[in-house]
């Protein structure tokens, strides 16, 4: 007993007091900033392994980006990744960062479904389905609930049964073999049935999304309530995204 108390004492306080303002250590490839400098655009576009970069104006689609940072390495004056981990939006086009624009990525309050804020403001239960995810986003979703990030302090929990859930969190590009189980799980969830896509693989299919073993037709059928980019998404990106979606007080207009 005494030894247990000693261990607890030695561990000290591990939780991050404020997850909305915490700083991430060292280098982190978060929200990119694109300058107006002129570069060889054809070369830049060709470089990106996921075709996330488009021209006129030069922009990066964070829903497609693998955050490998190769563009920033080769074109350091054009593209730079900041440590801003707030990358989630309910607007797919909101994930596109254009050159010369430096503004935060936000949840658009006008377009959030009414039910979500009225009903889920202080309690959100989610069912997670990995549909071809490589276990990186899954590990970060688990990490979001460890003693440091402690997402459950906000009333956000992952539950075992879809019957107990308010929505579904999908990771992975959605494989053919998971298409039916995913649909069954979604059908079992009661309203408001929110859908959250976590990670580049889920949002755009990622590097494997164009393959024939992937079936993304599920996503064409329903509106998506939140996109959380990353490869994998950082726990702070996940927590801030979910808080911005559901909390009135956490969002600054």
């Amino acid at each position: 007993m005494f030894d247990n108390v000693k261990i607890v004492y030695h561990q000290g306080k591990q939780f991050i007091p404020d997850v909305t303002t915490a700083k991430v250590p060292g280098i982190f490839r978060g929200r990119p900033v694109i300058s107006l400098e002129k570069v060889n655009e054809a070369e830049l576009l060709e470089l990106c392994p996921l075709d996330a970069i488009t021209a006129n104006p030069v922009s990066i689609d964070l829903g497609k980006c693998s955050f490998c940072g190769e563009c920033a390495r080769q074109f350091p004056n054009k593209i730079r990744f900041t440590t801003d981990y707030k990358l989630a939006s309910n607007d797919r086009l909101g994930l596109i960062v254009k050159e010369g624009e430096e503004k935060p990525i936000e949840v658009n309050l006008e377009t959030i479904r009414k039910d979500i804020r009225q009903v889920l403001g202080s309690s959100l239960k989610l069912r997670q389905v990995s549909a071809g995810g490589d276990n990186s986003c899954e590990m970060e979703l688990n990490a979001a609930n460890n003693v440091q990030f402690d997402m459950s302090r906000f009333g956000i929990d992952f539950v075992a049964s879809p019957r107990h859930a308010d929505g579904i969190v999908i990771t992975g590009p959605i494989t053919e073999n998971m298409a039916v189980p995913l649909q069954i799980c979604y059908d079992a969830i009661p309203e408001p049935k929110i859908i959250v896509l976590v990670g580049t693989d889920a949002i755009s299919g990622g590097i494997l999304g164009k393959g024939s073993a992937v079936d993304r037709s599920f996503l064409d059928k329903y509106p998506i309530d939140l996109y959380i980019p990353g490869n994998p998404a950082h726990p702070l990106t996940i927590i801030n995204g979910l808080l911005d979606l559901t909390r009135k007080r956490k969002v600054q207009k």
Partner: protein, 499 residues
């Protein structure tokens, strides 16, 4: 000679691999493994050549540090005698060959689909109608779990046949994660795209799989990498091992409802993966390892920082371990739970921790060394009971060992060589095999090029491919309530298996 010999990371011409008749091929490869625990099958696969299927079998010998290659040409319509009837090492490999090409085996004991790959020969077989083993009895019942599990983990289906609370049989059906990785390696032509695919094979083994891919690519393009690149890879592999093992100790504590251990080990994983982010910008090391170059050279400042991280980590890790391993309620759940005997692991040919837990010495770091491991002179950690306790002890000991290796490595941070290797196109008509010991065990990547130097085959084998069967054997005669702790103590990959 009816076979040829290579070493890890060696490229040879496909024509140098002797092609023999099927019965000679059969006798040769099953003969290699008879009475030789130091040998096992690291890869056995087929690929289409004109209207035939060429089978290539790769047997690793841990004593001579060599790999024996042989090949055979068969037709998809053939019905063959199975290697598996002689030796279970080949069980999954032959099932995969049957699934991909339709080759039939007369005497394979368990010829079921492996992963319902998109390009499988028989499209009428679908994942929804998998032929589960069943027993007719009024006394027994079946429990089906998955594909979607209770927690945040990857999908797979487990079908238990139980007598009351006791498991008689477990069948593990995978394939839900199949994304066509091997096909995508051929379709995506840019090197950066292929590196990104290698990162996506299994997100918990990013360093292991990207190192295996990089070694393949460097070997088949005929370039040597500098010392600092090997240094970064070796260091990253050991850090990945530390991080995942620590997380696994947390998961095992969770499954025996030991909250303190779960929280403390869980939080101790964070400083290690946060250090990876300080080093390369990604907590799971995505972007760190690239063929022929070192995008994030390790600096003396990072070495100081890492020493600081380890100095705080070490006493906390040791203190928690002392407490865990003297807790009777924890030990009673670990000991004699989920036992796999030496004979069984040898028979099914497990690798990595799933072999070392039962006294079978399989560790690529010492048997087919790569990176800086020849200098480290790694001594594998071997346990003998094959139970959850052995698997937990291996993790504890390997974390300590890795920590020592890391401390030694960062004493001498190498100078960074500025010139990046420029890649010629891969050598034509060549075969390359690369072995890496990831934290889970042996990773094997193979590739074959055509006369233009284009890839015509990219073959990935995650250690889980061997080890899932060991989990099924481990839970036999155990209480079904002990399944979670058995499963966590193996911590096998779904995505690495399904590809």
């Amino acid at each position: 000679m009816n076979y040829t010999t290579i070493v890890n990371k060696q490229t040879i011409s496909v024509a140098e691999i002797p092609e023999v008749g099927y019965y000679e091929f059969f006798g040769l490869n099953t003969g290699f493994l008879t009475g030789a625990p130091e040998r096992h099958c690291v890869n056995y696969f087929g690929y289409p050549v004109d209207s035939h299927i060429k089978l290539i079998c790769c047997i690793a010998d841990d004593q001579t540090h060599q790999i024996y290659l042989s090949s055979c040409l068969v037709k998809a319509s053939d019905t063959l005698d199975s290697f598996t009837a002689k030796n279970f090492n080949f069980e999954k490999f032959e099932r995969e060959i049957c699934e991909n090409f339709g080759i039939n085996y007369t005497d394979h004991p368990w010829l079921k689909p492996v992963r319902y790959a998109h390009n499988r020969a028989d499209q009428s077989k679908t994942i929804a109608n998998y032929p589960f083993f069943s027993i007719e009895s009024d006394e027994l019942h079946e429990v089906g779990v998955g594909p979607i599990h209770a927690g945040i983990i990857e999908p797979g289906h487990f079908r238990f046949i139980c007598n009351g609370e006791q498991i008689l049989h477990l069948e593990i059906q995978l394939g839900y994660q199949h994304r066509g990785i091997e096909q995508q390696f051929l379709e995506k032509k840019k090197l950066l795209q292929r590196s990104t695919i290698a990162e996506s094979i299994a997100g918990d083994t990013v360093v292991g799989h990207t190192t295996a891919f990089s070694q393949v690519w460097e070997s088949i393009c005929g370039i040597q990498v500098s010392h600092d690149i090997e240094f970064s890879r070796t260091l990253a592999l050991e850090l990945e091992r530390m991080a995942v093992h620590t997380g696994d100790l947390s998961a095992v504590c969770t499954d025996i409802a030991y909250q303190l251990g779960s929280s403390v080990f869980g939080r101790l994983r964070t400083p290690i993966i946060n250090f990876m982010q300080e080093w390369c910008g990604n907590r799971l090391s995505k972007g760190l390892i690239r063929p022929g170059r070192n995008p994030f050279p390790f600096s003396p400042e990072l070495a100081n920082r890492l020493t600081g991280v380890l100095d705080i980590y070490e006493p906390h890790f040791l203190e928690m371990n002392v407490q865990l391993f003297q807790l009777p309620s924890a030990l009673s759940r670990f000991e004699r739970t989920g036992v796999v005997s030496y004979d069984d692991v040898l028979s099914v040919g497990t690798v990595g921790m799933a072999a070392r837990m039962s006294g079978l010495n399989r560790d690529i770091r010492s048997s087919h060394p790569f990176g800086l491991y020849p200098e480290i002179a790694h001594e594998p950690i071997i346990k003998h009971h094959g139970d959850v306790y052995s698997r937990v002890q291996i993790r504890k000991a390997e974390v300590k060992q890795s920590m020592q290796y890391i401390r030694n490595l960062i004493q001498n941070v190498p100078e960074v060589s500025e010139n990046e290797a420029s890649f010629e196109s891969p050598k034509p008509n060549s075969f390359t095999l690369s072995l890496v010991e990831g934290w889970r065990g042996e990773i094997c990547h193979c590739t074959i090029t055509d006369s233009q130097g284009e890839l015509i085959l990219y073959k990935v084998k995650d250690p889980s491919f061997h080890n899932w069967l060991a989990l099924a054997l481990a839970v036999r005669n155990n209480e079904i309530s002990d399944f979670p702790i058995c499963n966590k103590s193996f911590n096998l990959s779904y995505s690495g298996h399904d590809l």
